[in-house]
């Protein structure tokens, strides 16, 4: 990626677009260009990270793993967006993985260089804060939607969840132009595909409930019968049965 392209990328990014041209010229030498193919990992969750990436072209997905190790998509981000800003600021391990959804060109800025430029141009902080605020706002929507989906599943309302999944089955990139709630629903739908498994399991259980199981303990049955039959009273009744019935018939004549 040549210097011109890098400068163009920086000049249209939300953090740096207000910087004077000469500052951008200085920054161009500080950023490293990365070119990735679809499926390549840009950031791996839990890695130590001291840089932020700016997407020049292409799209990435932000993902975490669920308890079974399956991927849960938190967001899709494209040209002009930053990724990895959380570790840049709090210096803790990466909170999620970032994977290319398409061929990708991105620029990497190290923390030291970021701090230097921040010291000289503190107004950048405001743009960073605005950017992080937008992400937080989206996270809130995402959590809210996740709770709504969970409630539907908990209520056994698999129908609407399934419909949503059906609608978004072929969705690929969910661009940032759409409202937060629509985007959150799209990402969650892939996770709530598990609903289909829940539904199938419940149906199986229900069908087992519909079947009455008849189990007779034959040993117990024989023991109880033996103890009854061996009683004196039973023996007498058994002996008298014939005469009881015959007696009635005779009496009836």
């Amino acid at each position: 990626m040549d210097s011109e392209k890098k400068k163009k990328a920086l000049s249209r990014s939300s953090w740096f677009r207000e910087l004077p041209e000469e500052v951008l010229d200085g920054l161009v030498d500080r950023v490293d260009a990365h070119v990735l193919q679809k499926g390549d990992v840009l950031i791996r969750k839990n890695d130590l990270g001291d840089s932020v990436f700016m997407i020049y072209s292409g799209w990435v997905k932000i993902v975490v793993g669920d308890v079974r190790g399956e991927e849960v998509v938190l967001n899709h981000l494209g040209p002009g967006e930053f990724v990895g800003e959380i570790s840049l600021i709090d210096q803790r391990p990466r909170s999620a993985s970032v994977i290319a959804l398409s061929p990708l060109e991105a620029l990497e800025l190290k923390r030291d260089d970021f701090i230097k430029i921040l010291n000289k141009h503190p107004e950048i902080a405001l743009y960073v804060i605005i950017n992080i605020s937008e992400r937080m706002r989206f996270s809130s929507t995402y959590v809210e939607k996740a709770i709504q989906w969970s409630q539907r599943v908990a209520d056994g309302d698999y129908g609407s969840a399934s419909d949503e999944i059906q609608k978004t089955q072929d969705a690929t990139i969910v661009d940032t132009g759409k409202p937060d709630d629509v985007r959150a629903n799209r990402f969650l739908s892939s996770f709530f595909r598990m609903v289909e498994g829940v539904k199938a399991r419940e149906e199986k259980l229900m069908s087992q409930l519909h079947q009455l199981t008849i189990e007779i303990d034959q040993v117990k049955r024989d023991e109880e019968l033996d103890s009854l039959v061996s009683s004196e009273f039973f023996q007498k009744i058994k002996a008298d049965t014939q005469s009881l019935k015959v007696g009635r018939r005779r009496g009836d004549d």
């Binding site: 519909h210 009455l212 189990e215 007779i216 049955r221 019968l225 009273f233 009881l244 009635r248 009496g251």
Partner: protein
């Protein structure tokens, strides 16, 4: 010749008294001469369904068993005392009698303490069959397999065993079926009561029938409507189109040789 129909269950709570009352009323409505004996002396209950209370009861089976009156004195005409309840009033003029057990606490504890001679009970039943010229005498028995129950099974022409589709009833019923066979009961029917409506009733009938190698005369649903009816009045007469009533009518037809 009249027939003795015993209704039995291995445990309490199967709906035995209710079933007995409804079966006997179906037979009476069909024009038969019908008697009902409450031999559940320890915990009588069928009288409530016929609208009787302690005041209206008159003589009881307990007095007959002690030799204080004849069994005919105990027989209470339902046809002449049918009352105004929507189901029971349909029995007005029918040839139907109830032989109730006492519901007096003292009488009940006396019988539990002293017991009674099952043979006297048997003689009483034979006597009332003849004197009232009954086509059917229905016996509501005490749950379980005690001496009186064994006797009522032994003298039955038809034995109806009621069970709920649960494990304890299924196990206990097996022994009762064995006993009935050893005592040469001519006709044995199983009635499954309080079946959850989500079951496939046809399948339940088939599986229970196969398990005991016996005929299932009916599978009756567990229903809240019955609970609403309370323990008063005869449900199958009040709500004849209800699934439970249709089921009991089917059982009654089998008893009468029509089903």
């Amino acid at each position: 010749m009249g027939k003795i129909v015993s209704i039995h269950s291995f445990r309490g709570g199967t709906g035995k008294s209710n079933t007995t009352a409804n079966l006997s009323c179906q037979a009476a409505i069909a024009g038969h001469r019908v008697g009902v004996v409450d031999t559940d002396i320890q915990s009588p209950g069928i009288h409530v369904l016929f609208g009787l209370d302690e005041g209206s009861m008159g003589h009881t089976l307990n007095e007959y068993l002690r030799g204080e009156c004849s069994i005919e004195d105990v027989a209470y005409s339902i046809g002449e005392n049918s009352g105004e309840a929507p189901g029971l009033k349909q029995l007005a003029g029918k040839d139907m009698w109830l032989i109730p057990s006492s519901i007096n606490g003292g009488e009940i504890s006396k019988v539990i303490k002293d017991g009674y001679d099952p043979n006297i009970l048997n003689q009483g039943m034979q006597s009332v069959m003849k004197s009232l010229d009954l086509d059917y005498l229905f016996i509501d028995t005490h749950p379980g397999l005690n001496e009186e129950t064994l006797l009522s099974i032994a003298i039955s022409d038809v034995l109806i065993i009621i069970l709920r589709p649960d494990q304890q009833d299924i196990q206990g019923t097996a022994v009762t079926v064995d006993i009935a066979r050893l005592l040469d009961v001519p006709k044995l029917y199983l009635v499954v009561n309080k079946a959850l409506t989500r079951y496939d009733f046809g399948q339940v009938a088939e599986e229970i029938g196969n398990a005991y190698d016996a005929e299932v005369a009916g599978v009756l649903p567990l229903t809240e409507d019955m609970v609403e009816n309370g323990s008063a009045d005869i449900f199958s007469l009040v709500s004849p189109d209800h699934q439970w009533s249709q089921g009991i009518t089917g059982v009654a037809k089998k008893i009468m040789g029509l089903g």
